[in-house]
Symmetry: C2
Subunit: 201 residues, 2 copies
């Protein structure tokens, strides 16, 4: 499917603990014309998480049924749970000219990139690996094994930055949000994007 | 010369009357880390123009001497007068990590693009051709023949937008300044630019 000429698909990704969730939350508060895609997952809700706001919490059977029906633009199994981005919401909003924000992990972002080359892929980096470790630990929702798992995985994942269009080092949340907002504004001024629109690709 | 990894070279261009001067002036007021390159010209000062602020007003002999010494990163003869961007100021500032803003005409911008591919080329468009005509006329510093000349030239020049990285339709100055500012912020987050920095190209 082509999305040129319509809304932007903005994919914000990066290792666990880099702070992408906070940045996206703050960006959404300032940008009215941006809608967020809520993922489906089979994992259990963490404390405070709300169905249809943080995730759609669904069963494995429901998830696997949606996979069969090509209902996801990306999905992955992470730490034994499924996570996926429903295709319908994303495509409908983009076609109606709205920018859609996806906050997803790196595996998912790379899947999306194969299908939606016109997407804007932004990689959030922690200011340092020490800081990353501290953030993952402080979250306090996982056991030690899960924490170590996440940290090792984050360490490897940082290399994927080269597959993205933009990177943001999240040393200050305000600055990081401002950069993400600027990236969206600037992308709408790109001549290449406008050319795609003209020739309808 | 390579400028990757140093300051950005931001080239703002577009047809006469599109409003690039006003946008650049306003941007400079808000961005402290941006320096503007002041051009040399052999034309006479317009009322209110100040030597070394608007232009360095120099003689034809001086100008031609600088051409021979490769002292310009671009120069052109427009309506019988020379205009040129001194090389030294631009390269020194960029090497010292400062962003340099060039507000130049389209001929000049295309010359700069051949040498400085890493530059950020932004094309300012008038909201409509009617508005463009009105702006050129209102400026009131030229005679009728010059006005017609400028309008015809502007009309042809708009096609050059395809050679630029970004375009901004100048329907509201505030919005246009914000877009230009966002483009500069976003360019500093580009992974490709960071890669150039790493490999030193």
């Amino acid at each position: 499917m082509s999305i040129a000429g319509e809304g932007l698909l903005v994919v914000v990704s990066g290792p666990s603990g880099a702070g992408k969730g906070t940045i996206c939350k703050r960006l959404l508060e300032t940008k009215e014309d941006l809608v967020v895609s809520v993922s489906n997952t089979t994992r259990l809700p963490r404390e405070g998480e709300v169905h249809s706001k943080n995730y759609f919490f669904i069963s494995r059977d429901e998830f696997q049924d949606m996979i069969k029906k090509d209902g996801f633009i990306e999905y992955a199994q992470v730490y034994g749970n499924y996570y996926g981005t429903p295709r319908k919401f994303v495509e409908e909003n983009i076609q109606q000219g709205r920018d859609v924000l996806l906050e997803i992990d790196i595996q998912g972002a790379l899947q999306v990139k194969e299908k939606y080359k016109e997407g804007v892929f932004v990689f959030i980096l922690p200011p340092s690996m020490e800081e990353l470790k501290s953030r993952i630990t402080k979250r306090g929702t996982e056991n030690e094994k899960e924490i170590l798992h996440r940290f090792e995985s984050a360490y490897r994942e940082i290399n994927y930055v080269s597959r993205y269009n933009y990177f943001i080092i999240n040393d200050r949340v305000d600055t990081a949000v401002d950069k993400l907002s600027s990236i969206i504004t600037a992308e709408k001024c790109r001549v290449d994007r406008f050319k795609m629109k003209l020739i309808g690709q």
